[in-house]
Amino acid sequence: MGRILIVDDTMFMRTLLKNILFSGGHDIVGEAADGAEAVARYQELKPDLVTMDIVMPKVNGIEALKAIKTADPGAKVIMCTAVGQEQMVKLAIKSGARGYIVKPFQAPKVLEEVKNVLSA
């Protein structure tokens, strides 16, 4: 089970992910609503894993991912975005993302992906 930081600009998606991850026994250590907040919260909380939305105001998820990976190359980040933006996968993977989930998602698969990334 991991300590997880959830990053998404919509409260609805953060709440949904929080419920899914909590039901899987994970500890939600924090939330952030944009990329800049995500980087600051990561440094403060040092979570085991981050779920990171891509399209967000101010600093987007890819930029936040790069900043987190620069500060901590071992950081485990799962990118999360809407259907139709799968082209972002390559960029995210190149930038160091460990996994990728596409909205809308289903709880069992999200938990499986989180488990895989945490145990890798």
Binding site: L16, I101, V102, A107, K109
Partner: protein
Amino acid sequence: MTMMKSVPIKVEHGGKWVPATMGIGEDRIHIGAPLDCEIPYRSMVDLEAKKNQVTIVAGPDAAEVYRIASVEKVLSVLKKFVITQCSAYRLNAFFMSPAIRGGVLVQDAHWEKGVITVMKTGIWFISQESQVCIPLGDVTGIELTRREIQEKDLDVVKIDHLIENEVVTSFVLCPKTTLQVLYNFLNEATQGSRYEGELDPLTGQVAMLVYSGMDSSSIENMLKLSHKDLDAIYEHLLATGFAEVIYIRKEIQLTTKGVRYISDAVKSSPNQ
């Protein structure tokens, strides 16, 4: 006709499964007694598969229905002949199935070269490695979109479908003109499951939470809804055909007998 060695099968005859033999030839199959018939692949118009059974529909009015049960190896050979030779819309293409499962990218997903056959009830993908069927009734979305393949942005058809309540995405890649024909064909074939209206935001959120696997109690907590409010939204989703009831949850209160039991249990507990 060159026939393979006859293989044992079970075939549905008069409402019962009976043992028989089947020969799989180059252009037809032969089913031995009690059916004793030959079915040319070109007369076949539909194929459905379920575990170790296949259903073949044949004849000019699709009036002949054959249900055959056998081991996977035999059915795999049979399906390959039917899919590649039956009377249906067919094209050579690359496909990736599944590419996304429940919103998570399938890590080892890869493009397979093969044949796609669109039959009356399903789309079949067949390659050297696999035989995949997407029943048209399970298709939840068809989209003509672009995807980066080997550093090129190419047109693909994206098919979302259900496999045991899990939403799965598959992709088809072929020349653009064929792709457009396939897209139009599938779009038309699955028109019945499309909803033209729009849900109000709250109902949409509830639908999204159900999709994600949340139960009623979690939805009530997340959206701060009363049981009654959520029930009304569920009724709307049921009426639009977006959802179906899987079970009815009961809310109960204890009777005198139940209250007495609890009172007695508390009294007799050594910790009290």
